[in-house]
């Protein structure tokens, strides 16, 4: 069942993998924009809200700032988990089919 490079590229399985890869990338990029700009526009339009205290002295602004960094990092982790567990397996399978 060995195929040439162009047969692999034309195969449904390869096309589905490429499509899936960019779907995951685009969804994660959109989430990244929502998180970062969500924070920036809350700073621009919600100054009073961000100044409200969540602890004795800590306010929402500080928590949101740190959360922006942590959530952006978490998206990267999601991508790596997806790539390691799903993408790489498909890549290995497809490579096995290659002559």
């Amino acid at each position: 069942m060995s195929k040439s490079a162009s047969e692999i590229v034309q195969s449904e399985r390869f096309k589905a993998l490429v499509k899936k890869r960019w779907q995951v990338s685009i969804i994660l990029t959109i989430l990244l924009f929502v998180i970062y700009y969500g924070f920036i526009f809350t700073v621009a339009y919600g100054k009073t809200f961000l100044s409200e205290k969540i602890g004795v002295y800590t306010n929402y602004g500080i928590v949101f700032g740190v959360m922006t960094i942590i959530l952006s990092w978490a998206l990267t982790v999601v991508y790596v988990l997806w790539a390691n567990n799903i993408y790489d397996k498909e890549v290995d399978e497809l490579k096995k089919e290659l002559k």
Partner: protein
Amino acid sequence: MQTSLGQVNASSVFFFLVFITLTLFITYWAAKRTKTTSQYYAAGRSITGFQNGLALSGDYMSAASFLGIAGMVSLKGYDGMIYATGWLVGWPALMFLLAEPVRNLGKYTFADVVAYRLKQKPIRLAAAIGGILVLLTYTIGQMVGAGNLIKLMFGLPYEVAELFVGAVMLMYVLFGGMIATTWVQIIKAVLLLGGVTALMLIGLSHFSFNPGELYGAIQTKYTVTMLNPGGLVTNPIDAFSLGLALMLGLLGLPHILMRFYTVPDAKAARKSVIWATTFIGYFYCIIPIVGFTAAALLGQDIIKKIDAGGNMAAPLLAEFIGGTPFMGFIAAVAFATILAVVAGLTLAAASAMAHDLFVNVFKGGHADEKEQVKVARISTIIFGVAAILLGIAFKGQNVAYMVGLTFSIACSGNFPALLLSIIWKRFTTQGAVWAIVVGSVSATLCIILSPTVWVDVFKNPQPIFPLRNPAVVSMTLAFIVAIVFSLLTPDKEAEAKFEEEKIRMYLGVGAE
């Protein structure tokens, strides 16, 4: 408070000598392993994902991030923290959009990727110029910062500091190539992360390790406004544009993209980015605490007395909580930070000049290994000397806009061409060349005419271009030009090659 900052003191000289000795020893070791172009530009692709993650952090976290953001938080409070978040968000985007395709398609530079299925000469020429423009503006900012910081910390004259930084950095890159540069960046990243962690922990120990108590001290000492958002984000379009430049500019920085070729494959490239994101995210989370601690323990008057911009907040805090030895250590870390970043920039510029321009444009891709390495070394010297001269030429200038300019050119000139070459089948040579030219030129012109330069530097009463950050305009323009020119000049050959390159891009088959 009496400070020994700005004088040569035994402990800073000691830490500094330890660092120089260690890194030069590594350079000597690396030089023996640097014979081929693959070793010179890409460390023989022998760096692991974890090591590259540290080196990427060392390449990216500049003295401006470390001293500048700590200082900004200590004087402006919460607004400094908003600024800090922007420096991380490019990394996830780099992972989602470019890291793996760039690794699989290229060899030494990002121009390899753009030129892969298009006409070599025009693309290489445009990409090399776009790349060198980004590296030059970044280098000027770093070198001017280096001269000022070293003068403040060690009391050395500005010109001596420039010569010294240039000479040491040249030793690393010239003799040790990418192997030495990588290890200098790794050591710097470990020192910087360790130093800042120690500053934060010892600082917080004055507040029973409770950040809330620290914020309380700030609120009592300076009123609550220090903890609330102030005037940083006033114009939403400008804020949007700055965000684009910070986020997508990273994806067009040649010295960062080049690091992906030092690892063996796309999986290791992925690992590099997750580690880099982890270290850099951690750094930007804790650096505001250092700034707040400096404001609470030292007071803004002392920080401003040494440097009106607040850049000495972190070293001053180190002296206050750990005495002269700790300050000496932090000063040496700041120095290592500058060296590592400038070394990365110089190596990337050398690869653009030697690999893209000399080998692929002037020699049409035909040059033997020995000649290539020789030209790479000559290019390193040219760029290194240029860095020193430009650093001296810009003495006393306000170069705060340089970082903004760098990221704007990177996201308008390099990023659109790079992204489209990876995702768009009908992208053509004309489209790529014009995208790079129009993106770079429009970003540069807009910055010159913007409030940042036209008003703040040239002292004109009114800006001609209204935004401080042109990315939203210049990047959009670059994408439009890329699409229009590509559609006007259809290239069947490039479309066919796009299908062929997929096996390499997505499966890594045939990757270098």
